[in-house]
C-alpha cells in the first residue's frame, strides 16, 4: 500500500499538510508535513504535489536503522533513533524525506496514516497497492 496523488486535481489548499503534521507531531504546522506541495504560479498555473512511494531507499541508507516498517507496511521514522545525519534526504527520489533541525529534532516522512486522504476535498490523494 502507498499514497498516490493526481496533481492535476490538487488545488493547493494545504489541508493535507495540516492533517499530516497533526498526525506526525500532534501539531498544527504544515511546515512539518511529509507531502511536498510545489505551486507553479503565475504561469503555467498548476500545482505539483509529491508524495512518498514507500520505495524504501531512505531506509536502506539509514546508518542507525531508524526508518522502520509499521503495521501498515509503510516506512516510518522512529524519532528516538534518528540522529539527524541527513543521509536519507538525498536518497529520496520524490523530495519527501525531511530533516529540518530548526523545526524538529528527528527526520520525518509519510507513515501512511491516511489523514491527508480524509481531508482532501478534490480527490487528488488516495491509497492503493
Amino acid at each position: 500500500m502507498r499514497l498516490y496523488v493526481d496533481s492535476t486535481k490538487c488545488s493547493g489548499c494545504r489541508a493535507c499538510l495540516v492533517a499530516c503534521s497533526l498526525n506526525l507531531f500532534q501539531e498544527n504546522n504544515p511546515k512539518k508535513a511529509a507531502l511536498n506541495l510545489i505551486p507553479h504560479f503565475p504561469a503555467p498555473g498548476v500545482y505539483e504535489m509529491k508524495v512518498c512511494t514507500q520505495c524504501g531507499d531512505c531506509a536502506a541508507v539509514c546508518p542507525t536503522e531508524a526508518i522502520k516498517l509499521n503495521e501498515r507496511g509503510a516506512y516510518y521514522v522512529d524519532f528516538d533513533e534518528c540522529n539527524l545525519c541527513e543521509a536519507c534526504v538525498p536518497e529520496c527520489p520524490e523530495d519527501v524525506m525531511y530533516v529540518r533541525a530548526e523545526l524538529a529534532n528527528a527526520a520525518w516522512k509519510c507513515n501512511l496514516c491516511g489523514d491527508c486522504v480524509a481531508v482532501c476535498g478534490t480527490g487528488a490523494l488516495w491509497i492503493a497497492d
Binding site: 489548499c13 494545504r14 498544527n28 504546522n29 503555467p44
Partner: protein, 608 residues
C-alpha cells in the same frame, strides 16, 4: 490563550518602531478575532476625525481562532481600517495562505500605523520583523512583486502587495495575495499605499496550541467529512461562484449596463459553464479548503493568466459593461488585480462613465479620446489602466469612486451612480428583490453583498414583498454570516455545501476551550454590527437615515428588458423597509442605536 497565536504586532511606519504585545484576553472573549478584533481596535485606537489617508489612520490585519487550523476554509483574514472611499468603516476579507502563515508566525493582529517617509516592505519571519527598502518595487504590478519575493525568499513565504492603484491612492485600491486573492473593498489598498508600504512578506513556522487536541482533531475531521459528503460538492467545485451567473441572469439579478437591467442578452457568453470550457485550467483553493472556488484561468487571446473571474467580476466587468466575452472579462480582471484596484468598484465606475458617455454627459474630450460605449473592450482596458495610474481627466475622476465622480459631473448622473454610503454596489441588481436591496442599504461597509446574501430568500417568499419576516432575515444574516470573518474562516462551506453549522461548535470549543453556541456567537455578531454603526456615527456628524438610501435607479427606473422588466420597488417601500429594520434593530427613526440598545449590548461605555 488557546487557539490564538498570542501576540499583536505593532509597526509604526513613521518611526520604524516595531513592538509586540500580548493579545488582550478580554478582547478575545468579547470580540473573538478577525473583524471583531478589527473594529474593536479601530474604534479604540484611531482618533475621531482621522484622515483616512493620513498618519493617524491604522490598517489592522487580524486572524481568528479558526485560522490556520484543521478547519475547512480556515484561511481568511480581515483587513480593517477607516475607509478613504466612504469615510466610514471598512473591513475586507482576504483568503489564500497569508492568514495561516501570519498566525504561525505568532500574530493575531498586525497593526500598521503612521506613514513611512519612503517606500518600504515589511518582512516577518516568526519573531524577527524588519522594515526594508522597497524603492525598486514602487510602481510595479502586484504580480511582479509577488514573483520577485517568491524568488528572493522562497515558496514558504506568503506575500500581500499593492499595485500602482494603492500607490496612487485610488480610493478603492485593493491588496493582492497568492496571484489572485484580494482584500478588495473599501480602499484598504489605498491606506496601505498612503503608508508607503508596498508589501508584507511573512513566514511562520510555529504551531498553534489548542485546548483539547483530541477533540479538536475529531471535530476538524467531522467538518471535512461533512464537506466531502455534501451533495453538490463536485458541481460547486467545478464552477465556484460562477455557477450562479446563469441563474442571476434568469431571475433578473445580473447587473447589466450599469444596473439598468438584470438580464443580459449576451449572458451565455459569460456563464460559468462557458468560462469553465474556454479558459479555466486549475482549481485553486484557500488554505484548508475542501471545495475550492478559485478558478485559475488562461486567456489564450491575451496570453495571460488570472485567478478568476469569479461571479462578482463577471457581473461588474462583463454584463455591467455590456461585454459578452469571457476572455475579455478575464483580462480586465487580471489588469485590475495586477494594478491593484477592486474589480467591483472599478466595474461600477467604468459602467457609470459609459452611461454618461452614451447619454452625452461625457464627451470624447472628457474621456481622453476613448470611445466609451457599452461593450467596448479596448476602451475598458485603457480606462482601468488610467484609473490605476490616475492618468488623464477621466481616470483621475473615477479613481475617487462613483459617488464623488457623479457629484462633480452632475447633470443627473447622480441618479445612476450605483452606490450606498459611497461604496459601489456589488453584483446583484435589486430593482425587485427587497431583502437584497435592504441588505445593500444597511451593510456596514456600503453596498456590499457578503454580510447578507438574501436574494434567494426574496425568490422563495416573493421578491417584491415588504414584510417584517424579510427584515428579520436580513438582520439574522447580518449578525450570523460575518461571524465567519470573525472566526477567520470561509463561510462558503456552510453557504454552498449546506453543512450543518453546529459542527463548528465543538471545533470552536476544542480550539479555544470555551463553549459557545451559535446563539452566543450571533450575539457577538450583533454587538460588532452595532459597534460598526457607532464608528460611522462618530466619524460623520450627519450620519443617519440619509446614508442608508439606495441608488435611485432601484426606485425610479424599472428595467426595460429582461426578467424584471417593468418591476421596481417604490420609494415608500424603501422607507418602510428602513422603518422596520431600525425598529427590529433597536435603533431610532434616524437609524441610530438607542441608549437602551447600547446598554443591552454592553456598548454604552465604549460609545461615550
Amino acid at each position: 490563550m488557546k487557539g490564538y497565536a498570542g501576540s499583536i504586532l505593532r509597526v509604526n511606519l513613521a518611526t520604524g518602531q516595531i513592538s509586540k504585545e500580548p493579545t488582550p484576553a478580554e478582547m478575545a472573549r468579547d470580540y473573538l478575532g478577525g473583524r471583531g478584533f478589527g473594529i474593536y481596535q479601530l474604534f479604540k485606537e484611531v482618533p475621531k476625525g482621522a484622515d483616512a489617508l493620513g498618519p493617524q489612520n491604522k490598517l489592522i490585519i487580524s486572524t481568528g481562532p479558526l485560522s490556520g487550523m484543521l478547519i475547512p476554509g480556515g484561511g481568511k483574514c480581515d483587513w480593517t481600517t477607516k475607509s478613504p472611499l466612504t469615510g466610514g468603516y471598512a473591513s475586507a476579507s482576504m483568503g489564500g495562505h497569508f492568514t495561516a502563515e501570519m498566525k504561525y508566525a505568532g500574530y493575531d493582529s498586525i497593526i500598521l500605523e503612521g506613514v513611512s517617509p519612503k517606500p518600504v516592505y515589511l518582512l516577518i519571519e516568526d519573531g524577527k520583523v524588519q522594515l526594508l527598502d522597497a524603492a525598486h518595487l514602487w510602481g510595479k504590478g502586484a504580480f511582479d512583486v509577488e514573483v520577485e519575493f517568491k524568488h528572493k525568499y522562497g515558496e514558504e513565504y506568503q506575500i500581500a502587495a499593492i499595485g500602482p492603484g494603492g500607490e496612487n491612492l485610488v480610493l478603492y485600491a485593493c491588496i493582492n495575495h497568492d496571484f489572485g486573492r484580494q482584500a478588495g473593498r473599501g480602499g484598504v489598498g489605498a491606506v496601505m499605499g498612503s503608508k508607503k508600504l508596498k508589501a508584507i512578506v511573512v513566514r511562520g513556522t510555529k504551531s498553534v496550541e489548542v485546548a483539547d487536541p483530541e477533540g479538536y482533531r475529531k471535530a476538524g475531521m467531522a467538518l471535512y467529512k461533512a464537506c466531502k459528503d455534501a451533495e453538490g460538492l463536485a458541481e460547486w467545485t467545478r464552477y465556484g461562484t460562477t455557477v450562479v451567473t446563469s441563474w442571476c441572469d434568469e431571475v433578473g439579478a445580473l447587473p447589466t449596463r450599469n444596473f439598468s437591467a438584470g438580464s443580459f442578452e449576451g449572458g451565455e457568453k459569460i456563464y460559468g459553464q462557458t468560462m469553465r470550457k474556454e479558459i479555466v485550467i486549475t482549481d485553486k483553493g484557500c488554505f484548508g479548503c475542501p471545495c475550492p472556488c478559485g478558478k485559475y484561468s488562461h486567456m489564450k487571446r491575451y496570453g495571460t493568466y488570472v485567478e478568476g473571474p469569479e461571479y462578482e467580476t463577471i457581473g461588474l466587468m462583463g454584463s455591467n459593461l455590456g461585454i459578452a466575452d469571457i476572455q475579455a472579462v478575464g483580462e480586465a480582471n487580471r489588469l485590475a488585480d495586477d494594478l491593484g484596484v477592486d474589480t467591483i468598484s472599478a466595474g461600477n465606475c467604468v459602467a457609470w462613465a459609459m452611461e454618461c458617455y452614451e447619454k452625452g454627459i461625457l464627451t470624447k474630450e472628457d474621456t481622453d479620446g476613448l470611445e466609451l460605449k457599452f461593450g467596448n473592450i479596448e476602451a475598458t482596458f485603457a480606462l482601468i489602466k488610467n484609473i490605476a495610474h490616475r492618468q488623464g481627466k477621466l481616470g483621475n475622476l473615477l479613481a475617487d469612486g462613483v459617488k464623488r465622480a457623479a457629484e462633480k459631473i452632475g447633470k443627473g448622473s447622480e441618479r445612476f451612480a450605483i452606490q450606498v454610503k459611497g461604496m459601489e454596489q456589488s453584483g446583484y441588481a435589486t430593482h425587485s428583490a427587497t431583502s437584497m436591496l435592504l441588505a445593500y442599504m444597511t451593510c456596514d461597509v456600503g453596498a456590499h453583498h457578503n454580510r447578507a446574501w438574501a436574494i434567494t430568500y426574496d425568490l422563495q417568499v416573493g421578491r417584491s414583498l415588504v414584510v417584517p419576516e424579510k427584515v428579520a432575515r436580513v438582520i439574522w444574516l447580518q449578525n450570523f454570516r460575518p461571524m465567519f470573518d470573525v472566526l477567520g474562516a470561509c463561510r462558503l462551506q456552510w453557504v454552498e455545501l449546506s453543512i450543518d453549522r453546529d459542527l463548528y461548535v465543538p471545533a470552536m470549543e476544542a480550539i479555544t476551550g470555551i463553549h459557545r453556541t451559535w446563539e452566543d456567537m450571533e450575539a457577538v455578531g450583533n454587538r460588532i454590527w452595532n459597534l460598526t454603526r457607532l464608528f460611522w456615527m462618530r466619524e460623520n456628524e450627519d450620519f443617519g437615515r440619509s446614508w442608508d438610501q439606495p441608488s435611485p435607479r432601484f426606485f425610479e427606473e424599472p428595467p426595460k428588458t429582461g426578467a424584471t422588466a417593468g418591476q421596481i420597488t417604490s420609494y415608500e417601500d424603501v422607507q418602510r423597509l428602513l422603518d422596520m429594520y431600525y425598529e427590529q434593530r433597536g435603533w431610532d427613526n434616524n437609524g441610530l442605536p438607542t441608549p437602551a440598545t447600547l446598554e443591552k449590548l454592553n456598548l454604552a461605555q465604549i460609545a461615550s
